[in-house]
């Protein structure tokens, strides 16, 4: 990105801006309702402002006072893409607060589901990214590759979205993996590895695509850290931070933290492509070393607990859930999705890009605004 086009954070109002191009909150280029104001000069974005807040559903408010099991299943409705991440983290809060040990077999099944979800989320991201690039053929092919993952998720959880696998103390009985299911997962991973590798090869060897994505929407490492960016968006700037490294659930598995150095659209896309291969590696380990035994620990008692926090690494970054328990019911529930941390990065990445690339710069951070709307402020017009 041109250095002159960069605006120092917090000093943006000193710039003289030629024109504003407001888009949204409803705009056919955006798959979710959000407002973006692009301040442009000769079609080059000088500054950007993203506003969300039209998708608020008040999930935390509804969770207040619900029995913890019901509240957990409600969290699954926060996101249609990473539904398992939400219910898993919500269940982890209860397990952490109540000191519940989860059987090893259940841990592995949870990891398999979560990594399958990461695969489907990243493949969706890549497909959408290619659609924004205008490359419909690649977009379609990625959707086809994703179908394998969706079918595996349906096999495990019974649904293509919202599989409801984790419950307090383990996983749901229908998520138990028999030999036939294990074989299907193994075959699916072989197929996915082959297809994703083929796609990656085609993708990086296409000069037109490389020209469109190299050096576009650049976010430097220091800016990413200053903006508290999270997940693959942060790793695309060269920062090797992945909470999975600190999660005890991932201790038995070997995987690499993927990073790229440039922080542009190319780096973001490549990080996700390579993370897919790491997810396949984790799933293979989890399936090949699936311990025998029960999948649910029923021997626990409900008790009142203070506010307990849990962080996990989900496809878009760091997900936070916390609540307290009172007579088996949820109190003071808070959810924070990774996209809230990445909105600053999205705005910043637009600066210096051509206006056609602005949407790409936003999409490269893998936004999920509908899940991010956790609070609203009502303004009287």
């Amino acid at each position: 990105m041109d250095e002159d086009n960069k605006i120092t954070l917090g000093n943006s109002k000193k710039q003289v801006i030629e024109t504003e191009v407001p888009m949204g909150t409803v705009h056919s280029a955006a798959i979710e309702p959000y407002r973006i104001r692009l301040f442009v000069e000769d079609e080059v974005v000088k500054d950007a402002e993203i506003t969300i807040g039209v998708n608020h559903r008040g999930v935390e408010r509804i969770m207040e006072g619900l029995p913890v099991e019901k509240a957990n299943s409600l969290t699954e409705k926060i996101c249609g893409i990473c539904s398992n991440s939400h219910i898993w983290n919500s269940v982890l809060v209860a397990e952490k607060a109540l000191g519940i040990e989860v059987p090893e077999r259940a841990q592995n099944i949870r990891i398999i589901t979560e990594e399958l979800e990461r695969l489907h989320s990243h493949l969706l991201y890549l497909a959408h990214g290619n659609e924004v690039l205008g490359h419909e053929t690649f977009s379609m092919r990625l959707f086809y590759i994703r179908e394998t993952v969706m079918e595996l998720l349906r096999m495990i959880g019974g649904n293509r979205v919202q599989y409801g696998v984790p419950i307090i103390g383990g996983v749901r009985p229908r998520a138990e993996l028999n030999q036939m299911k294990i074989q299907k997962i193994q075959e699916g991973m072989n197929l996915l590895e082959e297809k994703i590798s083929d796609f990656a090869e085609r993708f990086v060897s296409d000069p037109m695509i490389m020209s469109r994505i190299t050096g576009v929407g650049t976010l430097k490492k220091e800016d990413a850290l200053r903006l508290a960016t999270s997940g693959p968006t942060l790793r695309a700037t060269g920062v090797a931070v992945d909470i999975r490294r600190d999660m005890k659930e991932y201790d038995p598995f070997e995987f690499d933290v993927i990073t790229q150095d440039d922080g542009d659209v190319k780096s973001n896309l490549l990080v996700r492509v390579l993370e897919n291969l790491e997810s396949i590696k984790i799933i293979r380990q989890a399936v090949n070393h699936l311990p025998e035994g029960k999948i649910t620990n029923r021997s626990w008692d409900m008790q009142d607990t203070p506010i307990t926090k849990s962080y996990i690494e989900v496809p878009r970054g760091k997900l936070y859930h916390s609540y307290a328990l009172e007579e088996g019911r949820v109190r003071h529930s808070i959810v924070r999705t990774p996209s809230i941390a990445n909105i600053g990065a999205m705005q910043y990445a637009c600066i210096g890009s051509h206006i056609t690339d602005a949407q790409l710069a936003v999409v490269q951070c893998d936004p999920c605004f509908t899940c991010t709307d956790r609070a609203i402020q009502i303004i009287q017009l």
């Binding site: 943006s12 191009v21 104001r37 490359h135 469109r212 051509h354 690339d357 790409l360």
Partner: protein
């Protein structure tokens, strides 16, 4: 020319126009169903949908007043586009060659320019609800840059159309002048006659180079991927065409189909010496050229991302240089 001759010429012109219309309604379907859908491993729409059934459907839709400062003018622009395209077809027909002033390359270029300018007007007259008119309380205390003049996304299309008029259409005009240089005349009758005696321009080095340049120009003029910055999905969506609904939208679809056929016929006339004429079997070759152009364009567009100006400028510059080279070779 006797009255009978004039009558036959008139019938030939009308007949050719009918053939053009019939062929043009299938070309978008061929592009979408047989090429894009095949490459993308999906079923795709029925072949008649994009060019024929969609316009019919839109003809019977509720007429919605577009969000435009001059809605009638805005709505009439696609119809004007169709009329210009029909004129383009008429002037390349052999029946018009006796009226030399009307059937020259200058008239051809002039009409193509008007066709391009229409997009600029469309963009500046479209004020969609997607941008400025969407009520949202974002100009509040604390918002960034509260006093900045606002614009519509379609205005970007208008500005892009202006840039395309300035430089994007270089390739097609340079390619058109390759046969002119070889035949030594700007009149289409002379260019066709030259090829009847000396063989098609396409079968020479300059002709091959010119054909490549013409094809790129053909794609730019049709705003096809990767040259569709005028209506890229990422920001301006449909661009100048965004506010068209009902009958006007039907005209947009028809206009594009006819333009695909007419531009292919211009190529046949200038590079093969085969003007469209219902009274000759060579009209089948015109249809074949239109089909080949459509298929090639669809294949190229299926494997390309949309170019921004960063990619657009070098490509157009490179192709224009090739066009100049073709003209220079044609003088040898």
């Amino acid at each position: 020319m006797t009255i009978v001759d004039s009558l036959i010429a008139l019938i030939a012109v009308i007949g050719t126009l009918i053939v053009a219309f019939v062929v043009s309604v299938w070309l978008p379907g061929v592009e979408r169903k047989f090429i894009h859908a095949r490459i993308q491993q999906r079923i795709g729409p029925p072949i008649s949908t994009p060019g024929l059934m969609s316009p019919i459907k839109f003809f019977f839709k509720e007429i919605i007043k577009p969000n435009s400062p001059m809605p009638r003018l805005y709505n009439s622009l696609p119809l004007i586009g169709i009329i210009i395209t029909i004129f383009l077809l008429i002037i390349i027909m052999p029946q018009l060659y006796p009226l030399a002033a009307f059937s020259s390359v200058i008239a051809l270029v002039g009409l193509l320019k008007i066709e391009e300018i229409l997009y600029m007007f469309m963009g500046s007259l479209s004020k969609s609800v997607l941008s400025l008119n969407m009520p949202f309380p974002d100009v509040v205390k604390g918002a960034k840059h509260p006093d900045v003049p606002r614009s519509f996304v379609e205005e970007l299309s208008s500005m892009r159309a202006f840039r395309l008029i300035a430089f994007g259409s270089f390739p097609i005009y340079l390619a058109i002048f390759v046969p002119v240089a070889m035949a030594g005349s700007i009149f289409l009758g002379d260019i066709v006659a030259y090829q009847q005696f000396n063989g098609p321009v396409l079968f020479s080095l300059a002709g091959i180079l010119g054909a490549v340049v013409y094809f790129i120009g053909f794609m730019i003029l049709l705003n096809e991927y990767p040259f569709s910055i005028l209506k890229t999905k990422a920001d301006v969506i449909e661009g100048p065409l965004l506010e068209y609904a009902s009958k006007s939208r039907a005209y947009v679809y028809i206009s594009r189909g006819i333009l695909m056929f007419v531009l292919a016929c211009i190529f046949s006339t200038l590079f093969l010496g085969l003007p469209p004429n219902i009274l000759s079997w060579t009209i089948l070759l015109n249809i074949l050229v239109a089909l080949i152009f459509t298929i090639l364009m669809a294949i190229l567009s299926a494997f390309s991302p949309i170019f921004t100006f960063k990619q657009f400028y070098p490509v157009v510059t490179g192709v224009s240089i090739l066009g100049i080279l073709a003209i220079m070779v044609s003088f040898l």
